[in-house]
């Protein structure tokens, strides 16, 4: 008997009509690494909640079939009992801290106290785990003061000290910046060597491909495939999951391995494709240029506390090209964006919007010409109806009710939420709420729009939609500036990239130029887009940003 046996599992949330899970049957062996993929709303998180008994015990609703974990019925065994066997780590690092402990060390011990583990054993386990996950230096810090990646490692540590047989990771990096994600994936990599059973739900498909022994593909609550990575990726695209770049490209070039399957990881792809593929130089990409200056920033410096500058004398000019700002947390990206929006005032230097100094204007006064979409949609949503929420901004800047409604519906159409206009925004999922927030700013019809991490929580189709929206806004003559850490999107949707590090601009230019310079990437702590990375490893001289670039440039050596 397998460690986890799921048989014909069905589940429906309370007050809903659709089954969130519909006839799932799988067996998970001890010691394996299972990846779970699927578009938003496919039922991935619901499945993980069912394994630990939160579905149905916590969420209630309607339940059918069975989940047996190590002989225990997960629908009846109390969650606190099951949690001795199964650990769960989820997206939001903030919300999974207990909130009752003010040091990392106490936080890690919280669960062990609940299980009555003697204090010297508690200390032994906590010390070892902090060391192992590289967070020992934070042991006396307040966990809420840590960065997202550090906080998430604290969360993992506080689960692992309970020594569960299975660890479920439900998109553990979806709300983290690239460095934070890397920190977490390093931990995941360690775990794969420890022999603990891991079930990981992730949108970062390259990571799934890298670690998984088996992958479960879900769509619409149903099981599509359960098999090896190459089996699953053969049909994932029709179900909203774009296969990893190495697999896409090797498949397009028809280079398979000895078992006739396409490599899912970069490592495997390089091994198989090396020597078989050559690249010709690609022509300089033709791009729209623009000379009309929208923003001019002169010697801009900023500090929150006297003497500690967050921005050091930045000078930039923005024309109408869609522009991505990239760099690690703490590089000064958000500070720069907030200064441009007038939410902060320069400590030194000035910002001109269409030739006018913005210093004297408040953020509210600038709102009719500069829009700003915040990272967390829940920081702005307050109306009980989507349409009213989207109309709030337009009405504030003096549009008539009719105009506001027209613009709002237009914007909702753009983000594919026209059917949700009468719903309560908080009944929508996070990725949809992000789209509501985006629409609420687009509806204000401003000349410039600043986006802070628009792709967080989006699946592949959400990311594609955002890329399309950016294109459409640019076509309408609007300047789009976006802070972004999704390098694949930077490569495909933007014509200009500004790389920042430590409060200064370290590079500025076309994506292929910025990504060419390895020292820039090092300094900004960034990775190449996946396609470009594979291209470079296979010896391409040019920076290949998209699948199209890659396939036009690559040819099979005879």
């Amino acid at each position: 008997m397998a460690y986890i046996e799921i048989d014909n599992l069905k589940y429906r949330y309370p007050k809903t009509k659709k089954l969130a899970l519909d006839g799932i049957s799988i067996q998970i062996e001890k010691g394996s690494f299972l990846g779970v993929i699927g578009r938003n709303g496919a039922g991935k998180s619901t499945l993980s909640s069912a394994i630990i008994g939160l579905v149905p015990q916590f969420y209630k609703g309607a339940y059918g079939g069975s989940v047996i974990v190590d002989g225990l019925d997960a629908s009846r065994t109390p969650v606190s009992e099951l949690s001795r066997k199964v650990g769960l780590v989820f997206q939001n690092p903030f919300n999974q801290l207990s909130g009752a402990k003010d040091t990392v060390y106490d936080e890690v011990c919280f669960g062990m106290q609940n299980f009555g583990i003697p204090s010297d054993e508690m200390r032994r386990r906590a010390d070892a785990m902090l060391e192992k996950l590289g967070i020992a230096q934070f042991r006396d810090r307040n966990p809420f003061d840590l960065s997202g990646g550090q906080m998430q490692r604290v969360a993992i540590a506080s689960i692992l000290v309970l020594q569960p047989d299975v660890l479920i990771l439900d998109e553990p990096t979806s709300q983290l910046d690239p460095a934070g994600s890397e920190e977490v994936f390093k931990v995941v990599e360690q775990l794969t060597n420890d022999g603990i059973t891991v079930i990981m739900i992730e949108q970062k498909i390259d990571k799934i491909a890298k670690y998984s022994d088996k992958i479960l593909l879900l769509d619409d609550g149903k099981m599509v495939t359960y098999g090896t990575p190459s089996e699953v990726f053969a049909e994932s695209e029709a179900h909203g999951v774009i296969p990893p770049a190495p697999l896409r490209l090797s498949r397009a070039l028809n280079i398979a391995d000895e078992n006739n399957s396409y490599p899912a990881t970069e490592e495997a792809a390089v091994r198989i494709m090396n020597g078989k593929v050559s690249f010709k130089d690609v022509r300089e990409k033709e791009r729209t240029t623009s000379s009309e200056e929208v923003f001019r920033i002169e010697n801009l410096s900023f500090h929150y506390t006297e003497g500690i500058n967050v921005l050091h004398s930045v000078s930039l000019s923005f024309d109408k090209r869609p522009t991505a700002i990239i760099g690690q947390n703490g590089a000064g990206k958000t500070t720069l964006a907030k200064l441009m929006k007038g939410l902060l005032k320069p400590s030194e230097g000035s910002i001109f919007f269409k030739g006018e100094d913005t210093k004297a204007k408040t953020a509210a006064a600038l709102s009719s010409s500069i829009g700003y979409v915040f990272q967390n949609p829940d920081d702005q949503i307050f109306k009980p109806r989507v349409l009213d929420e989207v109309m709030f901004g337009p009405v504030n800047i003096g549009m008539s009710k009719e105009d506001a409604e027209r613009k709002a519906i237009e914007a909702l159409g753009l983000v594919h939420l026209e059917n949700a206009k009468n719903r309560n925004p908080y009944d929508l999922d996070l990725h949809e709420r992000k789209m509501v927030a985006l629409a609420s700013v687009i509806a204000m019809d401003t000349d410039a729009i600043i986006l802070d991490e628009p792709t967080i929580a989006q699946d592949d189709s959400g990311k594609n939609l955002i890329a399309r929206i950016i294109g459409e806004l640019a076509e309408k003559g609007k300047l789009v500036v976006s802070i972004l850490h999704d390098m694949d999107l930077v490569a495909t949707a933007f014509t200009r990239v500004i790389a920042m590090a430590n409060g200064s601009v370290i590079d500025d230019g076309k994506p292929e130029d910025v990504f060419r310079d390895e020292s820039t990437l090092m300094k900004a702590g960034l990775e190449l887009p996946h396609v470009a990375s594979l291209g470079r490893k296979l010896g391409s001289e040019s920076v290949l940003l998209t699948d199209k670039d890659f396939l036009e440039s690559a040819f099979i050596r005879e």
Partner: protein, 258 residues
């Protein structure tokens, strides 16, 4: 993260005193003057509060806590001294305004009650970590749920205050004014408070899950990372305080009977 707690470990003996001892002190120092019902008892209590605060190097911070009450106490003096129903004996007058002895004495008593209370509580508040109170309660048989509620309030409020700033920025970005006439400010209240309230309520769902998966609801014996070793002084002082309060109570009964 900025805490809303006023606790600061300044290294003095007062920070080492067990929270329960301080709670017992507060109970005693408020109850005894109440039973004895004389002004000198309040004077002694207040003097004792001040002496403890001085030796715990916390008087200066305590001052900030009581200063706000002075205006209220002043108005009590004013209203009681002028208008109280029992006023008979004029004490002094400012022009045509006459202050009466009875009302002023009442006001003095109320003022003493307030100052004594504020000072004695500030001893606890300034020198005790809230989480320690919660932990000690749990260890002495109170429900772990109670101590969870206490501790988590201290992490939740700074988080909410952090989001408050972001929300203000987000709504200003959408053209909402937060300054100006009362009607403008009233209208701003809902867009500002709804997101923080709604998201903090929604976050409780994930927080509850986080606690569930770490066995918060588990039955069976719990264990503790640390134990607070009570100083022998803690015990002695607590017994002394209980005896004193008890004697004052007896005194109250006796005077009431005769």
């Amino acid at each position: 993260m900025k805490s809303i707690s006023l606790y600061k470990d300044n290294g003095t003996w007062l920070c080492r005193v067990h929270p329960f001892t301080k709670l017992m002190y507060i109970a005693a120092v408020i109850l005894i003057p109440l039973f004895l019902h004389t002004l000198w008892a309040y004077a002694v209590a207040i003097a004792l509060d001040v002496a403890i605060l001085i030796s715990g190097k916390s008087l200066k911070r305590a001052r900030a806590l009581i200063i706000f009450s002075f205006t209220i106490i002043a108005t009590i003096f004013l209203i009681k001294g002028l208008f109280d129903g029992d006023n008979i004996t004029p004490l002094f007058s400012l022009g045509s305004i006459v202050f009466y002895k009875e009302g002023l004495l009442k006001a003095l008593r109320t003022g003493c009650v307030i100052i004594n209370m504020l000072l004695s509580f500030s001893i606890l508040v300034l020198t005790t970590k809230p989480e320690d109170i919660a932990d000690e309660m749990e260890r002495h048989g109170f429900s772990p749920r109670l101590s969870y509620v206490i501790s988590s309030v201290f992490s939740i409020i700074p988080q909410m205050m952090g989001t408050m700033d972001t929300i203000t920025d987000a709504q200003r970005s959408r053209g909402m004014e937060t300054e100006g006439k009362l009607s403008v400010r009233m209208k701003a209240f809902i867009p500002l408070i709804t997101p923080v309230v709604t998201s903090s309520l929604i976050n409780t769902r994930e927080r509850a899950i986080a606690l569930e998966v770490r066995g918060f609801g588990a039955k069976g014996k719990r264990s503790y990372l640390r134990t607070w070793k009570k100083h022998k002084g803690d015990k002695a002082i607590t017994i002394l305080l209980i005896i004193a309060t008890f004697l004052a109570f007896i005194w109250k009964i006796i005077t009431w009977l005769i």
